[in-house]
């Protein structure tokens, strides 16, 4: 199983990252949809375009969204943001929390697919033609 943080790090050095659920900590709850947050040491438009393309080309059931700000980038299931907007919630964290409650299977699936997404990204990074 590929670790998304390790994959991101291999593609371009990270200055900061967080991931939730932690997967390796006790009490981890995989019903909480994944929320990956990172910052590259040397971000670039090309790097952003690569990740966008990689995520869009992922064939899994979960649709993913990449939020790119000047400083930090966030990867999360697109449904989190949709749920946030539909319910006028304050940020993705609240939406993820609600989704965990109302649809725990969604979080479990998204977490399972995150590893496959990581593998997909890693493969593309190693061999761009594979896309």
């Amino acid at each position: 199983m590929a670790d998304i943080i390790k994959v991101l790090q291999q593609i371009a050095e990270l200055d900061f990252w967080t991931r939730c659920p932690t997967r390796d900590a006790q009490g981890d709850d995989l019903a909480y949809p994944p929320f990956i947050f990172w910052r590259h040491k040397h971000p670039s438009p090309e790097l952003a375009a690569f990740f966008r393309d990689a995520i869009q080309s992922f064939p899994g059931e979960t649709r993913w969204e990449l939020i790119i700000s000047e400083r930090n980038w966030v990867l999360l299931p697109a449904r989190i943001k949709e749920h946030e907007q539909a319910n006028q919630l304050l940020g993705g964290r609240h939406a993820a929390k609600e989704l965990k409650q109302i649809d725990p299977e969604f979080g479990k699936l998204a977490n399972a697919e995150l590893s496959r997404l990581a593998e997909h990204i890693a493969k593309l990074a190693a061999n761009p033609v594979a896309a």
């Binding site: 900061f16 947050f37 939020i67």
Partner: protein
């Protein structure tokens, strides 16, 4: 909810117990722990009871010139048991000069008639009221003061006797303003000590008249039927938590949970008290009332300069020998307090108190108890004499002074290798430097008899003052904590801040910096980094465990503001404890006052 403050007092002598009792009254919820090296409380203040004799190992009583010890006795339920020293003890004191006892004059008539001074010496002393007062505030030895004010003859006799009786020190070394601040004050205010005493007595008489009460001259000495140990035991009985004995405190250090020298934005200071072995205590306030040489050892690591200043306070060595005789074997009338052999006479004895004449119940019926003091600053070697040599010498002295030839039927010898602190010239300046240095260490107090008076009254007075300061400090801290909580509530309601808190793309260090800016740049940030061998830390975000390369939060010093973790600020100690629980004790938590802009 506030946790009850934790106070650790090191030393269960009268100073430490006075601090503890007063604090218990002021802060009933506080946890007060007293750590004592010895196997009993009281320090030098203790009473031995055996064979019907009751022997004070240290002070013999306390004066009513200051109210604090009398008040303390009354507050702990001993008001009805107070015993006043006998009238004779108050009136008759003697000097041992020229191989005989000579009465110290107790009034003008007796003074004019005494042969202790020549007429020239008497005139010189009486002329004191006309001498110019000292200009400037330079320190001055007791000897220099006495010569300047009263002439050489009076200085040789009375200054030495006074110093021997109280400090067992050298009047040429001891500082007058430090040892006898009231006398220095009388000269400063009235221009003359004699004029000052007269003016103050007149004032007290007028006050008594105005109140319609009989005028009572202050300066009576007091004790308890059970001796001063009765006071120690009564205080201990009133404490919720008795002293813990047999604890040798090794060091007092700021708690590893972090603080600098107490500057703004640092953690509210907590202290780690490490004893021998594994015993350790954490405290919000620490009061050291043990002897200053012990304080030096405890503080050497935290502040070597402070420790050095404290360590420069010298102590003398004193041996106390209690001797019980059959009354019939003592020819002297024993109609007084006892006698002093001025140190400049170089006798083996500093003086003898006639204990059974001062207070009742000090000796069995038909017996008397004498208490001889020896050693002091001038003859420290006497403390090392073995019992036989010491007793032999004492008996020779008593034969000479009081014509006692019989052997005592009872004796007890108590050696104090560090007995009375010596306030040498420059002492008050040293104390000022120590107090100045202490400002860098909020939550730490130094007490005991090494700083502002060696008498029991001074210890209880200082104990009450320190207790007030500690209580005020801890209450101020509680208020500051409450203010932090109010600030957080308002802050999290601010729309701009709220949007930043809930943004998906704002990271922890950005948020920490913005919260710090919103709080007027007060405080700083806690950087939480993985321990060695790991590449991430675990914390809580939105109720979920999060793994991150590091974590940064804002702290105002009292609370941690981590709005993704909790809607309300978290007491910093608790926050750090939780981080350690999640990551293990070796997780790195460091405080950064002002992060560089690129980090924010």
């Amino acid at each position: 909810m506030q946790l009850p403050p934790r106070i650790v007092i090191v030393g269960a002598g009268i100073s430490g117990l006075a601090v503890a009792y007063r604090l218990q009254v002021r802060l009933p919820d506080a946890t007060i722990t007293i750590l004592e090296q010895a196997d009993r409380p009281g320090g030098t203040t203790w009473t031995l009871r055996d064979d019907g004799f009751q022997v004070e190992t240290g002070p013999n009583g306390f004066l009513d010139t200051k109210p604090t010890t009398l008040t303390l006795c009354r507050d702990v339920g001993l008001g009805t048991q107070l015993v006043e020293a006998s009238q004779a003890a108050g009136m008759n004191r003697y000097l041992f000069l020229g191989d005989r006892l000579k009465a110290l004059p107790s009034g003008l008539g007796a003074f004019l008639g005494t042969d202790l001074l020549s007429w020239r010496g008497k005139l010189s002393l009486l002329w004191e009221r006309f001498r110019k007062k000292k200009e400037g505030d330079a320190d001055e030895s007791i000897d220099a003061f006495a010569r300047r004010r009263a002439g050489n003859e009076a200085a040789d006799l009375f200054a030495d006797a006074l110093v021997t009786g109280i400090y067992a020190g050298d009047p040429k070394l001891l500082s007058l303003p430090a040892c006898f601040p009231r006398i220095a004050e009388l000269e400063r205010v009235y221009g003359s000590v004699i004029k000052g005493f007269a003016a103050e007595a007149k004032k007290r008489r007028a006050e008594a008249n105005a109140k319609g009460v009989a005028y009572e001259k202050p300066g009576k000495m007091w004790s308890l039927p059970s001796g001063l140990r009765g006071l120690i035991e009564a205080i201990v009985a009133k404490l919720k938590q008795p002293p813990i004995h047999g604890v040798h405190v090794r060091s007092i250090l700021p708690s590893p949970r972090g603080r600098g020298a107490g500057g703004e934005g640092t953690n509210p200071p907590t202290w780690h008290i490490q004893a021998d072995g594994r015993a350790a205590w954490e405290a919000d306030a620490v009061v050291l009332t043990c002897p200053s040489y012990q304080q030096t050892a405890m503080l050497g690591e935290v502040d070597p300069t402070l420790a050095q200043e404290i360590g420069a306070i010298a102590y003398n060595r004193v041996v106390v020998a209690a001797l019980g005789y059959r009354r019939a074997d003592v020819p002297a009338a024993l109609d007084g307090f006892g006698y002093i052999a001025p140190e400049n006479t170089r006798r083996d004895l500093l003086g003898v108190q006639w204990c059974s004449s001062i207070y009742p119940g000090r000796a069995p019926a038909g017996c008397v108890l004498l208490r001889a003091m020896a050693g002091g600053w001038q003859r420290p070697e006497i403390v090392d004499w073995d019992d036989d040599r010491l007793l032999h010498s004492l008996r020779a002295e008593l034969r000479l002074a009081m014509n006692i030839t019989a052997e005592p039927i009872y004796h007890r010898i108590i050696r104090w290798s560090s007995a009375i602190p010596q306030y040498h010239v420059g002492h008050l300046q040293r104390v000022a430097r120590i107090e100045d240095r202490l400002k860098a260490w909020p939550g730490l107090w130094l007490g005991g008899n090494a700083y502002r008076g060696v008498a029991l009254n001074d210890c209880t007075e200082q104990g009450a003052i320190i207790a007030e300061q500690v209580a005020a400090y801890l209450q101020r801290r509680i208020l500051e904590t409450a203010k932090s909580a109010n600030f957080a509530e308002a802050l999290y309601q601010n729309e701009a801040i709220r949007n930043r808190i809930h943004s998906d793309v704002v990271d922890c260090s950005q948020l920490a910096y913005e919260l710090q800016c919103a709080n007027g740049h007060k405080g700083g940030q806690l950087n939480i980094s993985p321990p060695e061998g790991r590449d991430s830390v675990t914390y809580i975000d939105n109720g979920e465990l999060v793994l991150g390369r590091y974590h940064v939060v804002y702290t105002d010093g009292v609370f941690v503001y981590d709005p993704h973790w909790s809607d309300s600020p978290i007491p910093r100690e608790r926050y750090e404890a939780e981080i350690r629980r999640l990551n293990g004790p070796t997780v790195e938590i460091s405080f950064v006052k002002a992060p560089p802009p690129e980090e924010s």
